[in-house]
Subunit: 169 residues, 2 copies
Amino acid sequence: MYYQLISQCTQALKNLETWLDKAEQHAAAKKFDVDALMTSRLAPDMKDFVYQVQSACDYVKAAAAWLSGQTPPKHEDNEQTIGELRARIQKTVAFVESVKEAQYAGASERKVSLSWAPSGKVIGGEDYLRQITIPNVYFHLVTAYALLRHNGVDIGKMDFLCPIDWISA
Amino acid sequence: MYYQLISQCTQALKNLETWLDKAEQHAAAKKFDVDALMTSRLAPDMKDFVYQVQSACDYVKAAAAWLSGQTPPKHEDNEQTIGELRARIQKTVAFVESVKEAQYAGASERKVSLSWAPSGKVIGGEDYLRQITIPNVYFHLVTAYALLRHNGVDIGKMDFLCPIDWISA
């Protein structure tokens, strides 16, 4: 379950690169600098597009690491351009895909520490995946998607969902 | 796994009621009719707030039904007010919570038909949960959240995530 659910989150990160392709096409058509989207926000007290992508990456990376008994690699939050964001996504995906299914053995028994947990508290592996990883990955990914849509980028639901493993009826 | 993951999606739906409380408080403070938010959109070619809530409800309801071998109850998409949306959420939660963990036995072997699937194709139970249910529930919930935040409602990440089952370190 851990491997499959984290792989699904990783796929969603990969899809983000398609959204960036479409952002670049939109910027070219409208003749604006695509990096202008990087600091876009939906509200003045909400974090910007770059943060949303960094954060989605970090929740996937952290889950792959902690649930397989590793310390997450440190990725500095210094991206400013769409090219740098692509590199952030790619190094996140490379790390997560380096973790093999067998390494998640025992994930349910792990306890994960979070910097913002109440004092003296941790979370069990399964609750971490269900209550922290999945909701946060999608929270930041969908916020990034919403920012692009709000700014006119021509992305749609299938750019968010695909691929889907259909089988014969 | 099915029961736990669908329960988490159901919890996220319940959290939506807290967001609606805060939307009402915001509208009262700013002296506008809270139902003005119901048709808000992030882009003219995106669906409105009411649709986002209906859709989140329907993906949770459908998963609970199909994966437990039932046909989902039909809920008409006729909500126009925040009160009607609360009722939609509540009847969705009531149905999903009527499905017991044991009823998901065999969910992995089920095949689910979707109206928008390619011709002659269905999806297996596990892929349905991972590739359709979870991403779509969060897609519509986070879009609803983004709409409220964009309109000034004072909701935050913990209104989205809670409750979290912390344990002693």
